[in-house]
């Protein structure tokens, strides 16, 4: 136990290091080093330190709970470490605190996040080097026609990265939903700052705003989910917690279990993780807190509300619109925040609160995941901006993860999260390397870069293979092969138990093909063939070591992340398996559009399913790859280009052109049509809705303003005017003529007399009536 008790402390230090770096850079800033290189070193050292500490912590954990033993049956079942570090506020049994909840998933995320962040810090030394000097930003044209010259912001960049590291680690280790939400917002604001890093560019700042506000829309739901859980359970802690007066209270998972199991079934012998107070003598008795109003319906609502936040953060349909715009930020940021870590936070949260999710919610997760997956993949087919392709690809892959989680594949979904983090970071960094070399994002301007930047090209090829899920079926492959197969297997299983949702599986398969296609299209367009812009090609060069080394490291992990350590059962999926949790009502029928069953994940590991899915996915991948080769790799179907370069073979190429037309009619056009429709929907419907929602809100705001000025304030002013007018009217009575005045004496006397006799008479009447 002693070695375990070190784990939270190690992680605390690992968590605090980036914060310390942030505060230090914020306070010292330019005093330290005018150009900011020192800040970069500090930030990098901090995050590297975090990484090392995380590794040590993980070693301690897995030393205590080895992966290859069956813990459920052993004498010490796995208990997540949970506790509070810091109390924000406490009201009776309600405690709002910052604390830790550590299990294998937390540790894995910690290691992964700090590892990738370290690499990206190193990469940024190379990529952001021009921020060390005065920068000339050609994208910003000033009023006098010149371009903007501004001081470099190297230190600021690393300052934000440090803040992000801190926030992301806090989000991962959170032991309660409020803490999650706190860091959820903080990573959002880091994202805002980093997207808008080039504050002078209007597009960048507006993209930053868009990202934050769209995320806030999701958070709006999340806050309600939090409120629902808090008001029904009286807590937001996942696990038991202790208030300052020493009382112990149950956490959310506990309540969810109480909902799931009727009273009689819930025996202590079940030995479930969250309430085995007997088997673990260290856990004191638990008191239930809150007004205990948690019902199943409320749990569904809370789950859906929390899901809103996840959709926003993980850029899922229909809140995905901010992510492509977010590519305005520097590429390392895109790699770290908008590919590997932050956008995965939504997926992570779904995984974290899995025990609270009911089948209804999971179905929604799965459906939304599927829609996102397919839609983003089709859009990626036509994009020409290299980062946009990757952005849509990210959305699509996040959809995969959601789909995996939604169909009951907890391990599968999170497994893909990890593998995706490696290869997508790799791809983004590679694209960054390309952009760095070419100075443009447009793929039609590139081509043939393989010769100029071999390291980049090869590592990116590995990335493409990984994301496409390349591998030898039934044996081994790139990391993406393992994780994607796991998801597809679970989806297949899901489609066997829920026939009416069968289309999910087929869409997922088609998307797998599309993924392979657009990724290789990207690679071919960029690295193969002849340079399409000689000027850019001429200036292109391989990136410095600080950029290529991270690429290589990441490429290594993109290959092996799915493998198990030779000779053992130690693998990423086994690691996740250790932390696996089950959703509510797994494997039982839930009445919802027919009967929904969330299948048990282990069933998808069965050979027959696994083999079938593996082969199908392989076929799909190959298909996509082949089409990409035909169109962009070998360019057999690109007559226009060939015509330009070999003028004598014109007629031959003309025929090819007809072929191309045919193909285009048979295949390309429908696809492009679907893609363009999807893109149109994206732009014209969803984006439009988002934009016009903003416009509508603003119009509402103006209406409100108008109301305020005219109606509310107007009423006040009108009342004042009326009173004033009355005063003026009274003044007119004062005619200045004494005879009028005397008449008023008579009038006053007579009217008072009439009034008096009425009252007096009434009084008399009362007296008479009484007596």
């Amino acid at each position: 136990m002693s070695s375990l008790s070190l784990v939270p402390q190690l992680l605390l230090i690992a968590w605090m290091l980036p914060l310390a770096s942030f505060v230090f850079i914020f306070l010292t800033g330019s005093f330290l080093d005018r150009r900011g290189r020192a800040s970069g070193f500090i930030a990098t050292a901090a995050i590297a330190g975090s990484f090392l500490l995380s590794v040590v912590a993980a070693a301690l954990w897995f030393g205590y709970y080895p992966l290859d033993s069956n813990h459920q049956a052993s004498s010490h079942p796995i208990r997540p470490l949970s506790g509070d570090w810091y109390t924000l506020a406490e009201f009776g049994s309600i405690k709002l605190a910052l604390g830790y909840y550590i299990d294998a998933l937390t540790l894995a995320m910690y290691v992964m996040v700090s590892f990738i962040a370290t690499l990206i810090h190193i990469y940024s030394f190379g990529y952001m080097h021009e921020e060390l000097h005065e920068v000339n930003d050609p994208q910003v044209i000033l009023g006098d026609g010149t371009t903007l010259r501004r001081p470099g912001r190297f230190a600021r960049f690393f300052q934000y990265l440090s803040l992000f590291g801190f926030s992301m680690l806090g989000l991962v280790i959170a032991n309660n939903l409020l803490m999650t939400f706190v860091f959820w917002e903080l990573v959002g604001i880091c994202s805002y700052f980093l997207i808008g890093f080039y504050v002078e560019r209007s597009s960048a700042t507006s993209a930053g705003n868009k990202a934050f506000i769209v995320n806030r829309v999701g958070d709006f739901g999340m806050v309600l989910g939090l409120a629902a859980l808090l008001t029904s359970c009286g807590t937001l802690h996942f696990d038991h917690y202790q208030t300052t007066n020493g009382a112990h209270y149950a956490g959310l998972f506990f309540y969810a279990k109480a909902i799931q199991h009727p009273a009689s079934e819930l025996e202590p012998a079940e030995g479930s993780r969250s309430e085995d107070s007997q088997s673990n003598p260290e856990t004191p008795p638990v008191t239930l807190s809150g007004p205990k109003g948690l019902t199943y319906g409320l749990l569904v609502l809370a789950g859906l509300a929390l899901l809103c936040g996840c959709l926003g953060k993980s850029a899922q349909f229909p809140l995905h619109v901010w992510l492509p715009d977010a590519m305005e930020g520097p590429t390392p940021v895109s790699a770290l925040i908008h590919a590997a870590t932050m956008v995965a936070a939504g997926v992570y949260l779904v995984g974290r609160i899995y025990p609270l999710l009911t089948p209804e919610v999971l179905i929604v997760v799965a459906v939304i995941g599927t829609i996102t997956l397919f839609m983003a993949a089709t859009i990626a087919l036509t994009a020409t901006d290299i980062k946009k392709v990757l952005a849509y690809s990210t959305i699509s892959q996040l959809g995969y993860m959601m789909l995996g989680l939604g169909t009951g594949g907890w391990v599968a979904g999170l497994f893909h999260l990890f593998t995706h983090a490696f290869f997508k970071a790799l791809l983004f960094l590679g694209s960054g390397s390309v952009i760095h070399a070419c100075g443009t994002n447009e793929m039609p301007q590139m081509g043939g870069l393989l010769r100029k930047m071999p390291w980049t090209a090869i590592t990116m090829l590995i990335g493409c293979l990984a994301i496409a899920g390349a591998g030898i079926p039934l044996w081994a492959g790139f990391s993406g092969y393992h994780s994607k197969d796991a998801i597809l297997a679970q989806v297949y299983l899901f489609h066997t138990t829920n026939r009416f949702l069968g289309w999910i599986y087929y869409l997922a398969l088609v998307s797998a093909a599309l993924t392979a296609f657009y990724m290789f299209r990207l690679w071919f367009l960029t690295f193969i063939g002849q340079p399409r812009n000689e000027h850019i090609f001429g200036h292109a060069h391989e990136s410095p070591k600080s950029m290529t080394v991270p690429l290589v490291v990441l490429a290594f992990f993109a290959v092996v992340a799915g493998w198990s350590v030779p000779g053992t059962h130690w693998s990423l999926s086994a690691l996740l398996e250790q932390a696996r949790v089950t959703p509510l009502l797994e494997n039982s029928q839930v009445p919802l559009f027919g009967n929904v069953v969330i299948p048990h994940e282990h069933e998808s590991h069965e050979a027959q399913i696994h083999q079938l899915v593996s082969l199908e996915a392989f076929t799909a991948g190959i298909l996509g790859f082949a089409i990409a080769v035909v169109f962009y790799g070998a360019r057999w179907l690109d007559p226009a280009k060939v015509c330009q370069r070999f003028f004598g073979l014109y007629r031959f190429l003309l025929n090819k052109w007809y072929f191309d037309e045919l193909y285009s009619r048979l295949f390309v056009r429908p696809v492009t049509w679907v893609a363009s429709v999807a893109a149109w929907i994206d732009r014209a419907v969803i984006d439009w809705t988002v934009d016009h929602a903003a416009v509508a809100v603003r119009s509402l705001a103006h209406l409100d303003d108008w109301l305020d000025r005219i109606l509310v304030d107007g009423a006040v002013n009108r009342l004042a005017a009326a009173i004033y007018g009355m005063g003026e009217w009274f003044r007119q009575w004062q005619t200045g003529r004494i005879r009028n005045y005397i008449l008023w004496i008579v009038v006053g006397l007579v009217s008072l007399f009439i009034l008096g006799s009425i009252y007096f008479g009434l009084g008399m009447h009362l007296v008479v009536g009484a007596s």
Binding site: E90, F181, T205, I213, A227, L288, A720
Partner: protein
């Protein structure tokens, strides 16, 4: 005991004394006047800080140290401290009665703190410095008095005392439409005061100290004179303005405030309504808020800081200190009304802020929106009959109180930030800004911290209050919480949009571009102090809750006790049945076995 009263009196009247001293300064000695003003506010701040700082040796021989030790505020104590009443106008049983508890203490500190900053920000005022400083100090006396007074009459006097300096400060040192703004402020506030006066007399007339049990009379810190009178046999009622005694009267069984007066409604109901409107004008809540944008826009920067940072808080303070404890019945029956106004203010203020072209006006409307959270938090009476778990209401009340402090910091900061810019370029048109970041990076960084505090970013002070209020509102009404949470989106919208239009962008294209000089040290210190405060309270809210929560919780517990008794009374007489009793009972059954494993 008397020492505490003397100490609090010094705190309250030191600024007024400073104003008196300033009268003898030659009016051209502006430097000396400004420094004296700052010095006085600083001394007051240090004195109030003395309340919360750790103690000196209690057994010290030095009498001064002894006194300084005695005047400490004991954290965690829910009751009133340093409360002592001296007869003032005994014909009306009006006492000079000051005291401090966890509810008023943070506000007192906020007042003295912001006064220092506002005094420092007053360097930008160059016209009639002497008169300005005198009025400023008088204003501070009024504000501190409101938060420390425990006698209703005294409270009212201080409440009004602020009016006059404020009127002149806006009217003389304000912007182009200052006269309109000043008179509007004056008229609105006076309407509220008059309503409050009606309620005060209503309560006074209905009150009778002799109905209180004797221990309750002692707990009310009645002055010796009244105490003696209350014990003497007489058939005449003994009216009182003592806020504590009034609260005890309002919450006792067969409260005299439950007498019906008009329209079948009780004294408590009417008094609550009148007081509420009076306080909501100050808060301000829609639709009685229109004085605020004008007053804020026209007032000079330091006065805007004071106005938004402190004056608005008096409304919220009044509601929690006076409305609810004294008139729980009115509060219970009108909870929906309070919540409705709160939520409307939140949405309405946020939308109106979004539509503004004037930077300062935008900030002003954001105040309406943010104070809406306070009203909502105060109003979300989540005690349902039969369900006497007041912890959510505690959360809401604490959240609302915290939001007041947080808004005090963030809004004062925002107004200061606007003022800094206005001092340089002499306009506030949002469409003519942009690119300030490049010209004034430090200023921009501090501004962004302050704006994000207003946005409710976790880690900054605005977050805690907002989230607690929304949580509490959820337990009162889900629809309210949904609307309340949606305001978070609107807030993010207008604040980010503002930041983008003002600070970000390529270059500043408005007038007076050459005047955009970096922050002076004085300005930097003010903005940095506010930013640091925003961060500190954001990451360490316990700093406030430590003092505040016990008192707030005690208030709520008393009200919960009252509720329980009332409901029992009604249940006994069979007027209302409580379906929720059943419901909660069932849930209890469902989960009661959860305790089984621990046997």
């Amino acid at each position: 005991m008397v020492a505490g009263l003397v100490f609090l009196s010094i705190v309250v009247f030191l600024p007024a004394f400073g104003a008196l001293v300033l009268m003898f300064f030659p009016s051209h000695a502006e430097r000396a006047i400004r420094r004296t003003t700052l010095g006085v506010t600083l001394v007051v701040f240090l004195l109030t800080l003395r309340l919360v700082l750790p103690g000196l040796h209690a057994a010290s021989q030095n009498p001064l140290e002894q006194v300084l030790h005695d005047v400490r505020f004991a954290a965690g104590e829910p009751g009133y401290q340093h409360a002592y009443a001296v007869p003032w106008i005994s014909s009306f049983h009006i006492d000079y009665f000051l005291g401090v508890d966890g509810i008023s203490l943070p506000l007192v500190l906020l007042t003295s703190f912001l006064s220092v900053l506002a005094a420092a920000a007053s360097w930008s005022v160059t016209k009639h410095v002497k008169a300005y400083s005198i009025l400023f100090l008088l204003l501070e006396t009024g504000m501190l008095g409101v938060f420390l007074a425990l006698d209703f009459f005294l409270f009212y006097v201080f409440w009004e005392v602020m009016l006059l300096p404020m009127y002149f400060l806006i009217g003389v040192w304000g912007g182009p439409r200052r006269e309109y703004a000043a008179i509007k402020f004056f008229l609105f506030t006076l309407v509220g005061s008059v309503l409050m006066l009606i309620a005060i007399l209503l309560l006074y007339f209905a009150s009778d100290v002799r109905q209180l049990p004797e221990n309750a009379r002692r707990e009310s810190f009645l002055s010796q004179e009244v105490m003696v009178k209350s014990l003497a046999p007489s058939e005449k009622p003994l009216h009182t303005f003592n806020l504590i005694a009034l609260a005890k009267l309002g919450q006792m069984p067969d409260s005299p405030f439950q007498e019906p007066v008009l329209g079948g409604k009780s004294v408590a109901w009417w008094a609550f309504l009148l007081l509420l409107i009076g306080f909501l004008i100050k808060v301000p809540a829609v639709p009685v808020h229109t004085w605020l944008p004008d007053a804020h826009v026209e007032a000079p920067t330091p006065i805007s800081m004071i106005l938004a940072g402190i004056l608005l808080k008096m409304g919220g303070y009044g509601i929690i200190r006076i409305c609810y404890p004294i008139c729980p019945q009115g509060g219970y029956e009108l909870a929906w009304f309070v919540c409705l106004l709160g939520i409307v203010s939140m949405v309405y203020g946020a939308l109106a802020a979004m539509a503004q072209q004037d930077f300062k006006r935008l900030v002003a409307y954001s105040s309406v929106s943010h104070m809406g959270y306070v009203v909502l938090g105060l109003g979300a009476w989540s005690l349902m009959p039969g369900l006497y778990d007041p912890q959510y209401w505690k959360m809401g009340m604490n959240g609302a109180m915290f939001q007041m402090i947080a808004h005090g910091i963030s809004s004062a900061g925002m107004f200061f930030v606007v003022g800094v810019l206005y001092d340089r370029v002499h306009h506030r048109d949002l469409n003519q800004f942009g690119g300030i970041f490049g010209r004034m990076p430090v200023y921009t960084a501090l501004s962004i911290v302050i704006f994000f505090a207003a946005l409710g970013l976790p880690g900054l002070c605005g977050f805690v209050g907002e989230i607690l209020v929304i949580f509490a509102a959820f337990s009162y009404s889900r629809a309210l919480a949904v609307i309340g949470a949606s305001v978070m989106v609107l807030t993010a919208g207008y604040i980010l949009w503002t930041i983008r239009r003002v600070y970000l962008g390529a270059e500043y294209r408005g007038p007076h571009a050459e005047a955009l000089s970096p922050l002076t040290t004085r300005e930097f210190l003010i903005a940095a102090t506010l930013s640091v405060a925003a961060v500190v309270f954001g990451v360490y809210p316990q700093a406030i809750f430590r003092y505040m929560a016990p008192s707030v919780n005690r208030t709520i517990d008393e009200l919960a006790e009252w509720m329980k008794r009332e409901a029992n009374l009604h249940a006994a007489s069979g007027h209302i049945s409580h379906p929720s009793d059943l419901e909660s009972g069932q849930t209890e059954d469902l989960l009661s076995h959860r305790d089984a494993p621990s046997q």
